[in-house]
Amino acid sequence: MILPFSIVNPLTRIEVLRQLPQPGKVLVRENDLIESFQLVGEYTPPPQFAIINASRELAIPPKKIARYLDVAVGDTVEEGAVLASRGGVGGRSCRAPFSGTVTGSGRGRLLLEAPSRPVQLSALLPGTVARVLPGEGAIIQAFGAFIQGVWGNGKEVFGVLRVAARNARQSLRAKKLDASLQGAIIVGGAGLDEEALAQAVEVQVGGIIVGGVSPQLMPRLLTVPFPVVVIDGIGKVSMSEVVFKLLRSLEGREAALSGQMPDLRRPAWSRLGNVERPYLAVPMPAQSAASIDRNAPLTLGSRVRALRQPYMGMSGVVVEIPRGLALLETGARRPCVKVQFESETVLVPHANLELLL
């Protein structure tokens, strides 16, 4: 049976797609060695534009507007420059709302355009350019630890990993956050509250990783300047033990944290293409590592994580795959497997498990 999976792996081949939001120019070549801050590509957003209805502004019929125009198509104008005017009693003029180029005219109107500034995309993950997608971006490859999360606030950072929680069940506390953590990616255990978040903003941390967050805090998390990545789920959720242990073993290393994710209001199909899931990638000096087998089946001994309450976020090992259906609290009968979590062994529906690869 094929189960969905999350990658929680101390050493694997990491491939991260860096894709421009719009078609643009790719600035790297295949096999380039690239640092986190180096640019992968850039694109120019559509130009700013305005339609100036000179005919209406000057109260002149469109057919007669030509002789009142002070500019012609192709002219460059500064902000506030007069574009059309009529003198005499009650004279009027219309002016450029911004600096730009007149790119069109017709039916008494002028079209003014101003080019936008290019937007640049950095590599985030140091590594090798494995593949260039012309006009779109590049795939960066590295070897190291890789952990996928479930939610992120859209920001990303490269920084040093610091663990600020004693264990996976403890939430991040404000008093644990001091100036020494400026720029660091903080591992916060189970979750964080408003006070801890305010302190994190105050000391300018680089990013935060937690097991879960309260839904009420999510709008606020979207406004903070650093990435926040949730590993296990929304609500009161401890961080998976297996994730916490791995993060603790990586303390002090440099890591790329990406909180980018698809819009949950747009369904699965928006998960096509560039945005997959939030992640933490910790590059290592290794030159090779096994790839993830995305079609790995569920077998005895598989490492799994529970995806729904009451076990959400708990990770364990499959110890039995019974035949038939088991009765759930809801009255549903579902195929289940027996999973040994740290503190108990329980039946969990297949549908509510994912493999940890």
Binding site: P215, L264, W269, L272, T330
Partner: protein, 580 residues
């Protein structure tokens, strides 16, 4: 594909946004039956990015279940030879992204409303509406910016009755031209013009050099005539070309199948149409409801006319978060039989959106998911009502049967919960048999009908759909507890049971699946049960089901008690009434 006459085994792949369902239909003696089913996760998104991988995963399961081989040498084996292969492989899909449509028109209540209805017949999401609204001084700029920034798949331009308004339509066309010209050629929308026929040459001339222009009949040729079919057909064609065939991995499925791929909603609509013709009753319609994770499809066939409304991005998983943003959590809270705070409800919605294939393990999570289905269904029904042939917006026609499909409904733990959710979400009227498409065969059969109509009809007639029972929903007002319906149930063995239904109650009487009974119905003079008006009763033949014979005497519209405690108490009782 084998010749139609020789098709004896058909494999149908139904690729939804969350699950891919495989069904094997085979000739057994003189009829066709579904003999096996397998399900796997749809693999449209990462890490697979290939819809055919999910089909292969499900094929492996199907091979294990049947002991046969369907997939070999990297393809589905066609035709069947012994234990190898099938005679035909049919693919239906609801997994592709909906068509992103921008509507442009003049009067919101007229041509734009018609345009909205036309777009509702396909998997489409209305991204924005361009319309001159009072006070906006320079709408051209806003319109052009909207076209440029949204870069929709299609701009549907309507407006003006034939020979009517010209200038405002051309202003819209101008702005669309400007917005589209600022996009790279490959991101430019396709323009569908379904407005004032007189302007066709001008619109084509203005926009033809910038975008591909399709001209169809005006959706509102006159003030009181609406002509949606040409626009609907064109939008479906664009959806199939632009979205369905662009899905990653769909080329593989298409090569295996060699038959045209079909949108699931279209296939579902065909089955509803077939059921109407099979029932052969002019006075009643047939209704099909398919609630999925990403969309809700409502297919209503009245007097032989099918009205299909697809509510894209309003399914029970992916639509829930935006729905809550718009309507608040209170609307969900009102359906919960136990107390839950906003955080608990939101957490369920978020976690479900992360992992839509998961199932609730705790009752509270189950209630939240069912509350979402109720509210999303209510919204979809409200939007679909005006499209039903000759129906005024506030009157629910009498549908019999009502077909329920889609994972969000049929995967509920108990049949009574499915029925109760339907009653709360739809509020049917009159007498209806409710059929449950538990194995999601209905859309599959709609697709099969395209290549072997006999097989589809035969499988439908062979009891593929399970009956939940017969529901009688009297319409009228009374005091709580007042008797509104007297009923004598005469079973096949001539035993009889005389019962009464009281206003405000949900009453259930035993009538097992396949068991028939004659009902002698006498409604209170103020109540209409669909037998000719208020107070009109009569004898009807009904058939039982997994829930039984149900009288939903809770009134129309259904009103829940305002006091939270008594509301929860009432909800608990209804859940209990239908079997927990």
């Amino acid at each position: 594909m084998a010749d139609e006459q020789t098709i004896e085994s058909i494999l149908v792949a139904d690729c939804g946004t969350v699950n891919t369902n495989l069904l094997l239909l085979e000739r057994v003696a003189d009829s066709y039956r579904f003999v096996a089913q397998a399900e796997a996760l749809t693999t449209v998104g990462p890490p697979w990015n290939d819809v055919s991988e999910g089909v292969v995963h499900a094929l492996r399961d199907l091979e294990r279940i049947t002991g046969r081989k369907f997939h070999s040498g990297g393809r589905v084996v066609i035709p069947r030879e012994g234990l190898m292969g099938v005679d035909a492989f049919v693919v239906i899909l609801s997994a592709p992204e909906p068509l992103r449509v921008l509507l442009a028109g003049l009067v919101p209540e007229m041509s734009l409303e018609s345009a909205r209805r036309a777009a509702a017949a396909v998997y489409a999401s209305i991204e924005a509406v361009l319309c001159r609204e009072g006070g906006l001084r320079s709408p051209e700029e806003t319109w052009a910016r909207t076209v440029r920034d949204l870069a929709p798949d299609v701009v549907l331009l309507v407006g003006g009755v034939d020979g009517g308004a010209s200038r405002p339509v051309m202003e819209l066309a101008d702005a669309i031209a400007l917005g589209a010209s600022m996009l790279d050629a490959e991101r430019r929308p396709r323009l569908v013009y379904a407005g004032n026929a007189k302007l066709r040459p001008m619109v084509t001339k203005l926009l033809g050099e910038i975008v591909t222009v399709d001209v169809v009949d005006n959706v509102r040729p006159t003030v009181d005539v609406e002509r949606l079919a040409p626009t609907q057909q064109l939008l479906e064609q664009i959806y199939v070309e632009r979205q369905l065939y662009k899905l990653p991995g769909v080329d593989t499925l298409s090569a295996w199948s060699r038959l045209p791929l079909l949108p699931t909603a279209t296939a579902f609509g065909r089955v509803v149409e077939y059921l109407w013709h099979r029932e052969g009753r002019q006075d009643r319609g047939v209704l099909g409801i398919d609630v999925g994770a990403a969309s809700i499809t409502i297919a209503a066939c009245l007097q032989g006319d099918l009205a299909l409304s697809v509510h894209s991005q309003k399914g029970s998983v992916y639509g829930a978060l935006s729905w809550v943003e718009e309507h608040g959590l209170e609307a969900l809270q009102q359906w919960l039989p136990e107390e839950a705070d906003a955080d608990q409800i939101s957490a369920v919605l978020y976690n479900r959106a992360f992992k839509p294939w998961t199932v609730p393990q705790q009752l509270l999570e189950l209630w939240v998911e069912q509350a979402v289905v109720r509210e999303m269904l209510r919204g979809a029904v409200r939007a679909a009502l005006p499209t039903w042939n000759g129906n005024s917006a506030d009157a629910m026609p009498n549908f019999d049967p009502i077909l329920i499909s889609g994972g969000s409904l049929v995967h509920m733990p108990r049949p009574g919960q499915v029925l109760l959710t339907l009653l709360d979400g739809l509020e049917p009227t009159g007498i209806s048999t409710v059929m449950l498409d538990a194995n999601r065969v209905a859309p599959a059969l709609g697709a099969v009908a395209g290549i072997k109509p006999l097989a589809a009809a035969s499988a439908l007639d062979a009891g593929t759909l399970a009956s939940l029972g017969t529901v009688i929903s009297p319409v009228g007002k009374a005091r709580p507890g007042e008797t509104i319906l007297q009923m004598r149930i005469v079973y096949e063995d001539s035993s009889a049971l005389s019962v009464e239904a009281r206003y405000g109650e949900l009453e259930i009487w035993p009538l097992l699946p396949g068991q028939r009974a004659t009902l002698e119905l006498k409604p209170n003079r103020r109540f209409d049960i669909g037998l000719g008006g208020p107070g009109r009763g009569g004898k009807v033949q009904v058939v039982g089901g997994l829930v039984g014979l149900v009288v939903d005497a809770r009134g129309r519209p259904l009103v829940l008690p305002e006091d939270p405690e008594s509301r929860r108490h009432r909800l608990q009782r209804w859940v209990w009434d239908v079997g927990g």
